[in-house]
């Protein structure tokens, strides 16, 4: 990567002398600029949420807050109005937690079983099912909302917590199944055969052998699902029922509502608060994401 010409007189010996090369500097410069590009919006969001409206009006969004305040966070959390009620995001937060905590494990376990069955228990039509699922990944959600509404109301789950969990499971299924299928296909088939010889059946192999092995890819799945489900707005609005409305619905009401003038501070505080959960999940487990994705995504 670096060209070093031994200047006359010095007898090369030992390690090659280290040089700061232009390429190396360039790489760091590129990475730092890129990092700035990625971080600025978050910084802007946080800074804006800590400025008063006057300050926002007076300066620009890139200026540091002169008198940082968390008032708007408090307001967004507990007293911002959405319609008649002025309860902030708090009630929706717990609904979102509820929906996420239920939907994430259920959707992942089902997708995991799919991937496992598709990799090891191929039966007639399994590939077709999979092709349909992959096709399903391309269908705009809203097109399928109608049939699902009819289906769920037929079984009495429309507008209930189980209803929204089912919806998230359905829409998470294509990509998650793809991930798990790729992951399980990369495992040695001998493992499966050994378990079969040991007399284990479908479920036993799944729970005792496959499940414990799929931790890396499961982490990827958890991250994807937490993000997707937490950020969902449309499904929550339609399927969750009024008691279970997720936080994003209130976020939408807050940011789309203007009391005379747009209160960017509150909007941004609400935005940051709503994004906080998946953000924390990423910052904590982001490095597992890259590692895990190698297990499920790279194999075509």
């Amino acid at each position: 990567m670096s060209a070093i010409t031994a200047s006359a007189g010095i007898e090369p010996s030992g390690p090659r002398p280290k040089q700061v090369t232009a390429a190396r500097v360039g790489i760091y410069a590129f990475l730092l600029i890129a990092a700035l590009f990625f971080l600025i919006p978050l910084i802007v969001m946080i800074m804006t949420s800590m400025k008063s409206m006057n300050e926002i009006r007076g300066g620009n969004i890139f200026a540091l807050p002169t008198q940082p305040t968390f008032d708007y966070w408090v307001k967004a959390w507990s007293s911002a109005c959405t319609g008649v009620a002025c309860t902030g995001l708090a009630p929706g937060f717990f609904n979102s937690v509820k929906i996420t905590l239920l939907s994430v494990p259920i959707s992942i376990v089902i997708a995991m079983i799919n991937g496992y069955a598709l990799s090891f228990w191929r039966f007639r039509g399994a590939e077709l099912m999979f092709a349909i699922l992959v096709f399903g990944a391309f269908v705009p959600f809203q097109v399928l909302v109608y049939p699902i509404i009819f289906g769920l109301s037929r079984v009495g789950l429309f507008g209930t917590l189980p209803g929204i969990v089912i919806v998230h499971t359905i829409f998470g299924m294509p990509i998650l199944t793809l991930l798990f299928r790729n992951f399980f296909s990369s495992l040695p088939v001998e493992l499966f055969k050994a378990a079969r010889v040991d007399g284990a059946g479908f479920w036993r192999i799944f729970f005792s052998v496959m499940l414990p092995m799929s931790v890396p890819i499961a982490i990827v799945a958890v991250i994807l699902q937490v993000t997707g489900i937490w950020n969902d707005f449309i499904f929550g609005l339609v399927f969750a029922g009024r008691e279970n409305m997720p936080m994003t619905v209130q976020l939408n009401n807050i940011v789309r509502t203007s009391t005379g003038t747009v209160e960017y501070s509150t909007n941004m505080a609400a935005t940051v608060l709503t994004g906080a959960v998946p953000l924390i999940v990423y910052f904590v487990s982001g490095k597992w994401f890259v590692r895990g994705i190698a297990a499920g995504a790279v194999k075509g």
């Binding site: 040695p188 001998e190 493992l191 055969k193 050994a194 378990a195 079969r196 010889v197 040991d198 007399g199 284990a200 036993r204 005792s208 052998v209 414990p212 092995m213």
Partner: protein, 360 residues
């Protein structure tokens, strides 16, 4: 000897591809059978069929006299050891061993007793709490064997259990498996494409090619009386020298101007054949130097290449236009370019029909 595994007219297709074609194999109780053949010939496929891991297309499989053709793997009384060992990575050795028993719902005491017994036989008691990643290759292999052992099965199936290991460990474990067999006296069916393993371990070897068994006999017979060119060439390292030529009416084999009398050769049906044929002679049956002159056939040749192997030396030369190798004791001084006399007794060779490749 009672029959332990009996395979009748077994066929297996993948779509239009026939991997096994009406294969028959009868294995006696307590026998150590090795399936040997080049890569892709269907060895693993056959083993998987016996284990019940593949759905066969036609035929029947009997194990210990019971028709198990449609039985689940666990009900066949077989244990299997894989090339990659396929140990359950997240379970301790003990759990790995007991998994099958726990699935079958055995009592705890029974499980403990069997695990103890197996781990004693295999000398893996100190490893019971470890997980597979913490084991060396040889230890892993023993655990894999133990997994079959605890299930107290009649038939052990091995699919290239040694091919992932380095040479030294391989030869150690080979001896260990042999000793284990002498002790347990189970039926063992062992897949490999390493002929040293096949020769040293097997009571009988089945040589496969393209899903068909070519020869099924003792190592000695296979080595000395291969039924066809394929078997002859496949077994032995360095491999048998083949000379293409003609057998004339007087029973003399002629190739590239060299005449080799076939007196004393044991013809398959006692009568001398004539016409195009291939004479095969193993490198170690070629003598060099003083003794060579005394043999029924001898010739002077130039040495082209010498490979010292420590214990002995392989030399490459040409005879009648064909490349011929021979093996000499390490003490004999040989070097490229040297002129030597070689000789052999054609009676120790094999003669094959040039067309069909069959031994004649």
């Amino acid at each position: 000897m009672a029959t332990s595994v009996d395979i009748r007219d077994l066929s297996l297709n993948y779509g239009a591809v026939t991997v096994l074609d009406k294969l028959n194999l009868e294995v006696g109780r307590g026998e150590f059978i090795v399936l040997l053949g080049p890569s892709g010939c269907g060895k693993s496929t056959l083993l998987n069929c016996i284990a019940g891991l593949l759905d066969i297309s036609a035929g029947q499989i009997f194990i210990s006299g019971k028709n198990v053709t449609w039985d689940e793997p666990k009900d066949r009384g077989i244990g299997m050891v894989f090339q990659s060992y396929a140990l359950y990575p997240q379970m301790s050795v003990e759990k790995n061993l007991s998994f099958g028993l726990r699935v079958a719902g055995f009592k705890k005491e029974e499980i403990d007793a069997r695990v103890k017994h197996a781990s004693e036989i295999l000398q893996i008691q100190p490893l019971l709490k470890r997980r597979p990643v913490e084991l060396s290759g040889g230890q892993r292999q023993r655990v894999a064997i133990g997994r079959a052992l605890v299930r107290d099965v009649d038939v052990f199936l091995f699919d290239e259990p040694l091919s992932n290991l380095d040479a030294k460990l391989r030869s150690d474990l080979r001896v260990e498996i042999k000793r284990l067999h002498q002790r347990l006296k189970n039926t063992m069916i062992y897949v490999t494409h390493d002929q040293i393993e096949a020769m040293t371990l097997a009571d009988r070897i089945a040589i496969m090619r393209n899903g068909v068994i070519q020869q099924f006999d003792t190592p000695h017979t296979i080595y000395n009386k291969p039924v066809n060119l394929f078997v002859a060439g496949f077994i032995g390292s360095p491999s048998m020298n083949f000379l293409n030529g003609q057998i004339s009416n007087d029973g003399t084999f002629e190739t590239g101007g060299v005449r080799i009398p076939l007196n004393g050769y044991g013809w398959e049906d006692g009568a001398v054949k004539t016409g195009a044929a291939v004479l095969g002679i193993r490198p170690e049956h070629v003598t060099v130097g003083a003794g060579a002159k005394a043999l029924p056939f001898s010739a002077d040749v130039d040495i082209e290449l010498v490979e010292p192997m420590g214990a002995d030396t392989i030399a490459w030369t040409r005879l009648g236009g064909h490349s011929v190798t021979f093996r000499a004791a390490a003490e004999i001084e040989l070097h490229a370019g040297q002129k030597v006399t070689i000789g052999f007794d054609p009676a120790r060779g094999s003669v094959f029909d040039a067309q069909s490749g069959d031994r004649i």
